[in-house]
Amino acid sequence: MIELAAATYGIRADDGGLKTLLQPTSLTITEQRTAIIGSNGSGKSTLLRLLNGLLLPSGGSVVVNGLNTAQHGAQVRSRVAFMFTDPLSQLIMPTPLEDVELSLRRKHRNAAARRAAALKALDTQGVAHLAGSSVYELSGGERQLVALASVLATEPDIVVLDEPSTLLDLRNTSLLRQRLRALPQQVIVATHDLDLAADCDRALVVESGAVVFQGTPDAAVDFYRASVA
C-alpha cells in the first residue's frame, strides 16, 4: 500500500523562488494496477519518483508498505522497482546478463548462483537468448524487456513504470502490456497510452502538479480527453 499525506515537491527556480512541481497531494493506492495519465510536464514523473524515494517530498510524507521514504529510502528502493522511459538510462552493464547480475549482487554473493538466477530472470521475460548481446545492439522492445527483467530479478513488491511504451512500436507495446498484466506485483504506471491505462484497476489524472481526478480508467480517460479538448 502506498500512502501520500499532503506530499508536495518543489525545486528552487532560477529567480530564487520555489517552483512547485507537485501540489500537496494526499492519496492511498491499494489497487494492483494504477495508471497515472496527464499531459507532458504535468507532474506524473515527479509523483512516480516520490514513490521509490528517488525524490523526497519537500513537505508531507510518502509511506510505502509502512516505510517512510524520507527515513527508509534504501529499504523502499529495494521493494519498489523503477523503470525509466528509456531503458538505456537504466541498463548500467554492457550486456543483459551482466546487468541482471548487477541487480542480484546483494541477493547472491556466489557468482555461479547469481548467473543462474540472472539467466532465469531473463528467460522469464523471454530474452534469455540475448543474454550475451550488447545492450546497445538490442531493439527498443528488447531493451525494455531486459530492463524489466533487471528490475524484477530482485523480486520487488511494487513496480513503478514511467511511460514505458513511449519509445515502443505497436507490437512491442502490446507485448509489454501482456507482461505487465501478468505481473503479480502492485504496478503503478504513468503513461500516454490510454489503452495501457485501460488495463488498470484505477487511474489518476495529473495536471499542473496536482491529482485532479481519480476513478475508473474509463472515467479518468473521459475526464482527461475533456480537459485537453
Binding site: N52, L54, G73, A74, Q75, R77, S78, A81, F82, F84, L88, S89, Q90, L91, I92, M93, P94, T95, E98, E101, L102, S103, R105, R106, A111, G132, S134, Y136, E137, S150, V151, T154
Partner: protein, 209 residues
C-alpha cells in the same frame, strides 16, 4: 547516438586461453607489459614487445576489426603525442613514446576484450575486501570503477557524434561546437547513470558492504 555503439572496451565472448585465464593473472600481465614498455631502452626490443602484444590478439581470437578500432580510437592522441615528441626530441624518442602508449592501450584492450565486466567487478571487490577493516567499501569501490570503465566508450563515442554533427553544420573547425556538446552530454549521462543506480538501490549503504 553512435557513442552507444562505440565499444572498443567491450567484452567479446570467446573460448581462447586468454578468455579462460584468471582475471588476476591478466591484470598482472597488463601491469608487466606496461612496466616493461616503460623501462625498455632498446628500440628494437620495445618494437618487438609492441608486436608481441598485438599478436596476443590472435591468441585471444579477437577479430582484427577490434584491433583496428582500438588503434583508430587512440590515433588522435598517439599522432599528436608522437608529433610533439618528434619536434621536441627527435624520431627515436617519438617512436619510444608512441610504442609505450600503444603497448598499454593494446594490453588494456586485451584485458577488457577477454574479461566480462562482472568478472572485473567481482575481482575488484575481492581484492579490496582486506581493506574493509580500514573502512573501505569493496562493493562500492568495484561499482565505481565498473561504472567508470563503462562510461569511457560512451564519452569517446560522444566525441565522434559531436564531431559528425559539427561537420554536418560546417563547424568542424569550431572548438566550442566540438567540445561543449560533449561536456553537456557527459554531465547528462552521469546524472542519468546516477539516477538509474539510485533507483535500483545500487550503492545504498544497507545493500553494499
Amino acid at each position: 547516438m553512435r557513442g552507444h555503439g562505440f565499444l572498443t572496451g567491450a567484452y567479446i565472448r570467446g573460448n581462447s586461453p586468454l578468455h579462460k585465464a584468471p582475471v588476476g593473472l591478466k591484470v598482472i600481465a597488463l601491469l608487466l607489459i606496461s612496466i616493461l614498455a616503460l623501462s625498455l631502452t632498446s628500440t628494437i626490443v620495445l618494437s618487438a614487445l609492441l608486436v608481441v602484444t598485438a599478436l596476443l590478439y590472435i591468441v585471444a581470437r579477437l577479430p582484427w576489426s577490434r584491433l583496428g578500432r582500438t588503434l583508430q580510437a587512440s590515433a588522435p592522441v598517439v599522432v599528436v603525442l608522437g608529433a610533439f615528441q618528434w619536434w621536441l626530441a627527435g624520431p627515436v624518442v617519438a617512436w619510444h613514446v608512441v610504442a609505450i602508449v600503444l603497448c598499454t592501450i593494446l594490453a588494456s584492450g586485451l584485458l577488457t576484450g577477454t574479461t566480462e565486466h562482472s568478472a572485473v567487478l567481482d575481482a575488484l571487490a575481492r581484492w579490496i575486501s582486506p581493506l574493509r577493516r580500514l573502512g573501505a567499501d569493496p562493493e562500492r569501490f568495484a561499482l565505481t570503477v565498473s561504472v567508470m570503465l563503462r562510461s569511457l566508450p560512451f564519452i569517446v563515442g560522444s566525441f565522434q557524434d559531436v564531431r559528425d554533427a559539427a561537420r554536418a553544420r560546417g563547424l568542424e573547425h569550431n572548438v566550442r561546437a566540438r567540445t561543449l556538446p560533449v561536456l553537456i552530454t557527459t554531465v547528462a549521462y552521469a546524472r542519468q547513470t546516477g539516477e538509474a543506480m539510485m533507483a535500483r538501490g545500487l550503492g545504498d549503504d544497507d545493500e553494499l558492504g
